[in-house]
Amino acid sequence: MPASAANNRPEDLTARLGVGAGAAQGEALLKALREVKNQIIGNKTKKLLYLHLGAVPKIVSVLAAAAASSSSNSGGISRGGDAAVIVQAAAAIGSFACGVEDGVRAVLDAGAVPHLTSILSHHDEKVVDAGARSLKMIFQSELAPKYDVLQEKNLNFILSLLDSDNENVTELAASIIAHSCETNEQQKALCDAGVLLRFVSLLGGSSNQKDGCLESIEAVIKNNPEVSSRFSCTGNGKALNALANLIQDRYPHTRLLACKCLIAVGHASPCYVEELQIKTKLVLVLVELLEEPGRVGNEAPFSLKTLIADDEELHKQALSVNAIEKLCSILQMSSVQARRLQGILLALAELCSKLEKCRCQLMSPQVLNLIVDALKHDCMDVRVAACDCIRNITRSLKNLSAGCLSSEAFIVRLVQLSHDPSTSVQIAALGALCNIVINCATRKSVLIKCGGVSQLVQLSKSMDSALRSKSVLALRNLMFLADITDKEFILKELTLCTLASLIYDSECSIQEQALALTSDLVDGCSQSVKHVFAEDSIILDAVMRQLQNASSIGVCIQGMFVLSNIAAGSESDKDTVMNYLVPPHTDSCIPSFTIKFLQSKDILLRVASLWCFVNLTDPASVGSSRRVARLQDAGIVLQLKSMLNDPCLDCKLRVRMILEQCMELETAQA
């Protein structure tokens, strides 16, 4: 009927909601509420339309009025009517809060939570159910308010919910805990109040209740060794046994949540989940869950990644149950959701972080193309995950040397991502570029041609130290064994001034990378060495200052390798290094670092320093005799003699090499 259809228009229905003039009363109000609720369930467009029409505050007003009336009335008919209105209003509010962030915001802004909370103590079980369900939907959103359980009244409120016989109410308590528990103190307070015991006792309930409890258990024990240990000891391991049984539950979501709890226990207190058997079982369950549709399939790869993180043995287990094949087959499905794609790429990245066998499985062109496609994804997290995946695949020198991932489009894309508006994407892209530019002239030249060097140089001047660090490392790896033309190009873009400022960077790790870059520049018999003397020796001065400051061992090691490489050059290069190490005419003023480095406990620092003296005493150089005499006068030869039995074989052999060269020079002079 036309009249009836007009009555169900959202505009008309909204007008009939609420309290006061123009609003429907009694049966008509109930009917309007029910109609709105039915229209919006599972219909995002309708929800947004009603939000726009301002339906939510009106429904919350209805709820508040009905709840107040219900608590003051004692009459049978009115009470029954109020209860029905409350149930419909609460259900409609819950539906607005389900799956639509604007809906949650509107519900919260309209002050629905206190009214919904108040009806939890209603004498009518249907009203309590409706209130609990509605609040549960609200507390599934990140926007919901957090209950600080350190406040006694909040804790008591949650405990009272947890003690209820009504499953919807205990599930609500679990939702609030899962949503609100964030700090170690809160975890401990909840544990002290006995919530974990209560959750374990509820694990035998309905599927929804089990899931709610598992989510809360994870929130309460996560990253808290003390609470996790107490949970593990509950009932002589009863709690852990319950979890171990639930990873085989008939419902995939429950299996996933039980896995997450055991992973959380394993990370917080490893001794309770240390047997490989249980971990192997977890790997198996999670790999099976990868293929589940929806939320379970979306979350399973994240849990798998967390479980196997940094554990080579578990990587092997995952490989043995075809985890990579399954992940790749999902990757090849059409239209994979962003969240799922991110999880799959992160799991693949983890699996490729250590084992060459895993990396080999990803080397098919189809899979690589899909990973490269993910570099272009709209979602930032997917782009980061794709970069991480490529970074770990390219840890394989075998694949890199075979020219894998050398395609121009691929490197160009990574360079483009280093301009990404998101810093996380930039850092991840630089991580992949760092590995890709090693050991392959083709890749180096593609990067240079597509403007990658100037971009890396720009990022090396960033205020963000992570960006600076990664871009300098990428430049260092690019410089490694580059031909002279490429070296000159990189340095022209970088400029001596920027290189010097990087050697002086506030972060030691960046100083170290900048010095290693300088070593790679000066490496080999090339003209590049002239650059360290250019512009009033700006680079050499920077190297020497950092050596004299000796801020970190890594900086000193790289600095000494720079000097050593310079000392492998011409006669005048050697003399310059010599004058820095042992200034002429001032025997007593040997820079303290020269002897100190030779006496260092760090093997590599001793080795780097010794190579410097090997090069300075090269018998084929005409000036070596003169330099040896100065080394003797400065007490360095004596120091070297004291190192003849150095505990490190490499040091011992270099000391012998230097002393033999000194002797050869002395014999030649005699």
Binding site: C434, R476, S519, C525, S570, K574, N615
Partner: protein, 216 residues
């Protein structure tokens, strides 16, 4: 370095990797590091004629914890090839931890192993213990020689139909003193004991230079 194909062979897939014992890694020698180049010859003489190919080797990476290293090998005057032939190889460091002197794959029996290792004079002091258990409990961390096996994995710049084979592998002995390398190619289907002799290239005009990279 590739040799001419005589007969195809399929290497066994058994792993020669030993279980970890927690022994310290082998000596780290600064001359056996990524980027270091070596140059020399491989003698490929047969009964018919004397022949030696010029060979260049470059270390691409080394991972002492896992007893792994890899690099490229370039053979310069290979008669059947128009250009120098470059192969990529992977190596096992004999450290008594990740790998022992016994190969246990690539068609090499313990007798083949002993016969080849014994060609290196520096192996003599180790012989009796290796005969007993392959050197499983041997501490090589202060030994001035590093023993390795290098196995070529693929051709870098030519196809597999180039008429050359990389079916065999090298027994290698590296001197930590001067970085010189001696090796013997082993392939049951090729001439026995083809000797590889390489010298370390210092890198600089008048001395040793070092370069490095860092994987993330």
């Amino acid at each position: 370095m590739p040799v001419r194909v005589v007969e195809s062979s399929t290497p066994s897939q058994d792993s020669g990797r030993e279980s970890r014992t927690g022994r310290p890694p082998p000596p780290s020698c600064s001359l056996l590091s990524a980027g270091r180049a070596f140059s020399g010859t491989q003698n490929v003489s047969s009964l018919q004629k004397d022949e030696a190919w010029k060979v260049n080797v470059r270390i691409q990476g080394i991972d002492l914890d896992n007893g792994y290293l890899c690099g490229t090998m370039e053979a310069l005057n290979v008669p059947l090839a128009d250009t120098p032939v470059v192969t990529f190889w992977e190596g096992e460091l004999v450290d008594g931890n990740n790998f022992t002197f016994f190969t246990r794959k690539w068609e090499a029996t313990p007798e083949d192993d002993i016969r080849h290792w014994s060609k290196f004079p520096s192996f003599a002091p180790l012989l009796s213990q290796v005969e007993a258990d392959g050197g499983k409990n041997m501490d090589l961390s202060n030994y001035p020689y590093i023993f390795m096996r290098w196995k070529e994995q693929y051709f870098v710049n030519v196809g597999i139909d180039c008429g050359l084979t990389i079916a065999g592998f090298y027994y290698v002995c590296f001197s930590c003193s001067d970085g010189s390398i001696n090796g013997f190619y082993y392939d049951p289907n090729s001439s026995p004991f083809q000797k590889l002799e390489l010298k370390c290239i210092p890198g600089g005009c008048s001395g040793y230079t070092f370069s490095s990279y860092q994987l993330l």
